[in-house]
Amino acid sequence: MSAAGPSQGAKGAPSGGSAAASAASVGAHRPKGVDHARRQILAWGAAMAGVAIAPGITLFDLAHGRPPSEPASRTKRWGMLVDINRCSTDCNACVVACDKENGLPIAKTATSAQWIRKVELKDMRGATKSLPMMCQHCAEPPCVDVCPTGASFKRADGIVLVDRHTCIGCRYCMMACPYKARSFVHEPVSDQKPDVPRGKGCVESCTLCVHRIDRDQLPACVEACASSGHHAILFGDLNDTGSEISKRIAAVSSRQLRADLKLDTGVRYAGI
């Protein structure tokens, strides 16, 4: 979907998203001649704008792209809004996309890693609903509090991650997570995706496709949901009052799961 721009290489320009985003994030590769490079990028970026995906613009905010050398900052807080009314029981495009993007096992067993899952809800006296469930990226994550080595941490822009270099595999965060978001890798892993290192003995969970976000792309589940025609998942910067997601959250009624725990999750659900 985001292949409209030049294909992603190790040192290549980012693809997808808005023109302004691509323009700003490429500039930082060389210290000299920045302006020259920027002008060039702006030129073909504008041309690419016409090919930019319409869902990409409605789903993803026109944010100032972050250059690779700049650290993530607290000015942003990434979040998602899931509209359950648009989610269908028959569709699991988000799960398939997540598996493909992150190199997760396709077979779903009690020990396989599942970063996102479709949950079917049957109201005791009512209808059946379906929704995708993933790490809620809480502002007060219990998993971060309990990790003995600090491997489970919250990045400055709100994404909760596991630093697998420091994880000792004690699984305390899995006990602590109120959403059962975390998985333990029970078997040796091979053929990992280069952007998503993962291995036996560590705990992992949805990374909000941090490797894609840092390149101004959308998380894989968001893109897949849009491609499938449902457009149930909206992603964006919760701190930006002008962003699409902030406006929608202000407009429609939505809530956080297990809101009584006051974890201030980054993922909200509308229609439940």
């Binding site: 020990t111 599942q114 949950v119 079917e120 491997a151 006990m175 333990f184």
Partner: protein, 398 residues
């Protein structure tokens, strides 16, 4: 210098026991190696029940380790002379059980080779990180305490050392209970009651383990524990058993009061299959009521019934921990109250768990480590309570 000489047969027994203990430890190491090479898929643990049999063994040993030091504390801190003679054995058992428990815990990690990372990176909001200090500090403090007890010139320091050890172990056991108390995610945990519950559990289980080891050592040496002391220790065990029963009852009754907890309580106590069976049959009947009968009924009062009662308490401890740790995880998380939930990740369903061979062998390996440390320690240093060795063999036998 007082030299103790051992009879030849005793030496042979010592080596036999050492090899036995070593074999059990080796089996445990082999099991851990299998888990490391193949991953935890060879165990019964999965993404819902993340802590299994190894944790049942490890937590028993760590809780009993802190509790077994009680005997020494009653001597040094509360000044009861008869207990003071037992203090060195109690200290040794504390160290042995702690080593055994940590052996199991560390080898069950997903990445046990990252011990150095665990020792150098700390998140002080985590009670696990505090436990690293509490456990290693326990080794140091009990080591110093043992030294004050066994070195005649330092005898005057044994009271402050004993007090320090007592205070430290209360904090340590509170830390162990807090591992679960601080979890808000699951119905079974997140209760402030768990820390005091673990403290009284440590009293009961520690004393039970001490009585088992003491009985074994006395039988080995053809001695008998003086009946008045034996009666007092028996009564103390009875008191501790009742305390654990009390706090467990309070825990479940309080949960019953909350509508949102009723389904979970029913699962644990009534229709959860193996969990109610282990709770009522294993913990309440075999692990609490039967020992109480053996302790208080006038018909029973011999050393043998004390040993039996202690063993039953230990068995009941394992049953209770199984229900608490594994049953608590098997019950699904309540993310969507009021809805029936289905997913590919086991949401809404009770998780199935069956202990696997590697887990059991690892847990037993930990017991083997504790056993080995005790056997070697008792052989090398004078841990048997010395006061009773002045009596001729067979005297005061009941």
């Amino acid at each position: 210098m007082n030299r103790t000489t051992f009879a030849r047969s005793e030496s042979r027994w010592f080596w036999a026991l050492t090899f036995l203990g070593g074999a059990v430890v080796l089996t445990g190491l082999l099991a851990a190696h299998t888990m490391e090479v193949h991953g935890h898929v060879v165990t019964g643990m999965d993404n819902q029940v993340v802590w299994g049999m190894p944790h049942v063994f490890a937590i028993f040993m760590i809780v009993a380790a802190s509790g077994v030091l009680n005997v020494a504390s009653i001597g040094s801190v509360f000044g009861q002379a008869a207990y003071k003679a037992r203090a060195p054995l109690s200290g040794l058992l504390c160290l042995a059980l702690l080593v055994g428990g940590l052996f199991v815990l560390m080898l069950d990690l997903g990445r046990p080779e990252r011990m150095v990372v665990a020792a150098t990176h700390y998140n002080f909001k985590s009670v696990f990180a505090w436990n690293v200090f509490l456990y290693s500090g326990m080794f140091a403090i009990v080591g110093v305490y043992l030294w004050t007890l066994m070195e005649p010139r330092l005898g005057v320091w044994s009271k402050p050392a004993g007090l320090a050890a007592f205070a430290w172990r209360i904090v340590l056991t509170t830390g162990t209970g807090s591992i679960f108390a601080f979890l808000v995610a699951r119905q079974a945990y997140g209760s402030a009651l768990l820390a005091p519950l673990f403290i009284v559990m440590s009293f009961a289980w520690g004393l039970a383990v001490f009585l088992v080891v003491q009985s074994a050592m006395y039988v080995w040496n053809d001695r008998v524990v003086p009946p008045p002391l034996a009666r007092r220790m028996r009564n103390l065990l009875g008191l501790f058993i009742v305390s654990v029963l009390y706090l467990t009852a309070v825990y479940h009754l309080t949960n019953l009061y909350f509508a949102k907890q009723v389904a979970f309580v029913r699962f644990i106590l009534v229709d959860g299959g193996v969990y109610p069976l282990l709770f009522w049959g294993g913990y309440v009947l075999v692990g609490s009521l039967l020992p109480l009968v053996l302790i208080y009924h006038p018909r029973f009062g011999s050393a043998r019934s004390m040993l039996a009662a202690s063993l039953l308490v230990v068995a009941g401890a394992f049953a209770l921990l199984y229900v608490f740790i594994i049953g608590g995880q098997a019950w699904p998380l309540e993310i969507f109250p009021g809805y029936r939930v289905e997913s590919t990740f086991g949401d809404g369903h009770v998780a199935a768990y069956a202990p696997s061979v590697p887990e059991l062998l690892l847990g037993i390996g930990g017991l083997g480590v504790a056993f080995l440390v005790t056997v070697v320690g008792v052989r090398v240093l004078r841990f048997l309570p010395q006061d009773d060795l002045q009596q001729p063999a067979g005297a005061d036998a009941r």
